[in-house]
């Protein structure tokens, strides 16, 4: 059981490493935000559950479950707020992006107000 938990922890840390590499290599803020949020959430879930599976006798399962639940609930919220703020602050998308629906919606809204 301990070996099983340690292998899950290793997979989680590899996912964390991949998210760090994506954060270095992605071209603009929004792509970086995607790797920096989704991949770290999965990596943290795997890392923490691997540790708690490897040591069921330590009595820390409840707190680790609370921690996983908290990360899963708050990480998308904060990245969504940050992406929206970055878009309204006028940070450009990369040249290769093909679609920007938020800007289109804002332009339509402004025209309706006029």
């Amino acid at each position: 059981m301990e070996l099983f938990g340690s292998i899950i922890t290793l997979i989680g840390s590899i996912v964390l490493l991949l998210s760090a590499l994506g954060l270095l290599r992605m071209p603009d803020v929004y792509n970086r935000m995607q790797t920096g949020t989704k991949a770290t959430t999965l990596g943290t879930i795997l890392f923490l559950s691997g540790i708690s599976l490897g040591h069921p006798e330590c009595g820390c399962l409840g707190k680790i479950l609370v921690l996983i639940l908290f990360v899963v609930l708050t990480n998308p919220v904060s990245s969504n707020a940050l992406a929206r703020a970055a878009h309204f602050a006028g940070i450009k998308l990369t040249d290769r992006s093909v679609k920007d629906d938020l800007q289109k919606d804002n332009m339509e809204k402004n025209e309706e107000e006029k």
Binding site: G5, T9, A20, M33, T40, T44, F47, H55
Partner: protein, 86 residues
């Protein structure tokens, strides 16, 4: 054997926290730095839980929970600041 794999996982997490720190230094805008800070905090939470396992002190898990809470509030505050000013 299992302990060795745990240590290797922690070292990989440390390497990834270093890579994210490079992005935090060179990031051109404030949003880049905030994303890097958020990512660093979450990897640090994993490392804190690993340290709690290593030293067998459950009290460190509370530190991790409070750290996650403070990171969430900090990112929301920076997003509010970027959107309309304080």
């Amino acid at each position: 054997m299992a302990n060795l794999i745990y240590y290797i996982a922690a070292i990989i997490a440390l390497v990834s926290i270093t890579l994210v720190f490079i992005r935090m230094i060179i990031g051109p805008t404030i949003a880049d730095r905030t994303v890097a800070l958020d990512c660093m905090t979450i990897i640090a939470i994993s490392l804190i839980v690993f340290v709690a396992y290593l030293t067998e002190r459950i009290i460190y898990l509370d530190v991790a929970i409070v750290y996650a809470l403070i990171s969430f509030i900090g990112v929301i505050a920076i997003a509010r600041y970027m959107e309309r000013g304080i």
